[in-house]
Amino acid sequence: MISIGGLCKAFGERQVIKDLNLEVDAGEVVGLVGPSGIGKSTTLNIVAGLMEPDSGEVKIGGKTVTRFAGPGPNVMVHPADRGLGYVMQDNALFPHLSVMANVTFGLRGLDASAVRKRAMDVMEMLRIADLKGLLPGQLSGGQQKRVALARSLAPEPRILLMDEPLTSLDQELRQHLMGELRAIFDRLDLTVIYVTHDNFEARSLADRIAVFGSGRISGSFFVSH
């Protein structure tokens, strides 16, 4: 489903990603694990189309969505045309819009009642329907995380990228959300790249762990649940 090949990215003199290769099968949840600040988020940003690599290729569903310094012209498909959702570490919710407006933001090409139904379905699944009129600033950390997830899932993406989604939450809430997240991944048959520095979190959620080190995937192994 996701194929990353020969990815390289430097910031000035600092080579953050060096020939990174990763294959993620449809419906697979891959935990991208490694210490903070070594390029995991950069990898997600490149897959999402928010950042250009120096070289390398990203394919989604067999279609090239990013290609730089490869054969033929460079390719950079718009992030909204990649069929993916992205939950960022800081949620990046729209602070001036209600929970409902956040969740419906990515729903285009549907009539108003279909938009509302889709949003309500997702919000009910994540148990935030009663928060729909509130602003993000009025929510707890856990509630904000649920809204960020609902906003990403509302357009029904096939792929979900998650960048340290549980880092800022307390231990009890993390444990609780981990169980919920895994159930949602299975229920929606999502292909997921889940970035975390927490081995336990990755093992709890992922089918496979890909270890990120020295700018590339240094090893990968399957997790038995």
């Binding site: 940003n45 999402a48 928010l50 718009h78 992030p79 909204a80 045309d81 993916l84 959702g85 992205y86 960022m88 800081d90 990046a92 919710l93 729209f94 602070p95 001036h96 819009l97 933001f105 990515g106 285009r108 906003r151 990403s152 357009p155």
Partner: protein, 261 residues
């Protein structure tokens, strides 16, 4: 800090406040309240007051419409010549008003760089209401530009990235996310631009002239009234000071030019 140092610092502060407050107080104390009330309702005050409000509002609005796209581009895009453009738009802020007026004349007067072509169409700008608006917009535009650019720069890139994942429409991202999140800075910029336009004197005098009822704004009327009707000049000054105070307070309330943390 010892007592002598504290005393010296306190003395310096008192001197500074004295220097600012005394001239302001003098304007308020020159006329009695009844003189002020009757002056404020006279034609000598009302006519330039109306003209100033009209031209300042129109010029600040036009600046917002015309300057916002470039302010956004300079805030969020990196391109060749960016620093040059960023400096160019600040020039009116540091030019002496007489130079600004002369520049406008050389550009838009009937024999000017652009004015000669306008003349062929029968358009003569100097001495017109449009010239007042142009002079005010020229001088006041950097005040809006700085504030709106800072506001656009302060919008969290991650939030914009989130929006770009959800929609392909740049216009939708701008109108639904960027613009609302920058709105306080945009409003603060509009207020400062409006206030600067309201107080504009030199460029307006040179480019638009001083025609009562046509181009004579409040600052020009104050200058003229000082020779013959000091009470009217004082009444206009009181109004300008009150407006300036309210505007500055509003600007500070809205966050001014400070980037949010």
């Amino acid at each position: 800090m010892n007592r002598t140092q504290t005393l010296l610092l306190g003395l310096a502060s008192v001197l500074f406040l004295f220097f600012i407050a005394v001239p302001v107080a003098a304007v308020f104390l020159y006329t009695t309240p009844s003189q002020l009330a009757s002056a404020i309702t006279s034609d000598a005050v009302i006519t330039p007051l109306k003209l100033s409000f009209l031209t300042a509002t129109v010029s600040a609005t036009l600046v917002v419409i015309v300057a916002t796209p470039l302010s956004y581009a300079l805030a969020r895009r990196r391109f060749r010549g960016r620093l040059f453009l960023d400096t160019l738009v600040d020039i009116p802020m540091v030019l002496p008003p007489s130079v600004a007026g002369l520049a406008l004349l050389l550009a838009f007067a009937p024999r000017g760089l652009v004015g000669r072509y306008l003349l062929q169409q029968g358009i003569v700008l100097p001495g017109s209401l449009i010239a007042v608006i142009m002079a005010e917009a020229f001088v006041a535009s950097p005040f809006y530009f700085r504030s709106s650019k800072t506001a656009f720069e302060s919008v969290n890139q991650r939030i914009l990235d989130s929006a770009r994942i959800l929609t392909k429409s740049d216009a939708r991202v701008f109108l639904r996310v960027t613009l609302p999140l920058a709105s306080r800075g945009i409003l603060a910029g509009f207020i400062m631009c409006w206030a600067r336009a309201l107080g504009e004197f030199g460029a307006t005098l040179l480019f638009a002239g001083n025609l009562p009822g046509v181009t004579q704004t409040m600052p020009l009327a104050i200058y003229i009234a000082m020779a013959s009707n000091l009470v009217a000049a004082d009444a206009l000054s009181v109004i300008l000071i009150v407006i300036s105070f309210v505007v500055l307070a509003a600007f500070k309330f809205l966050g001014g030019w400070q980037k949010p943390a």
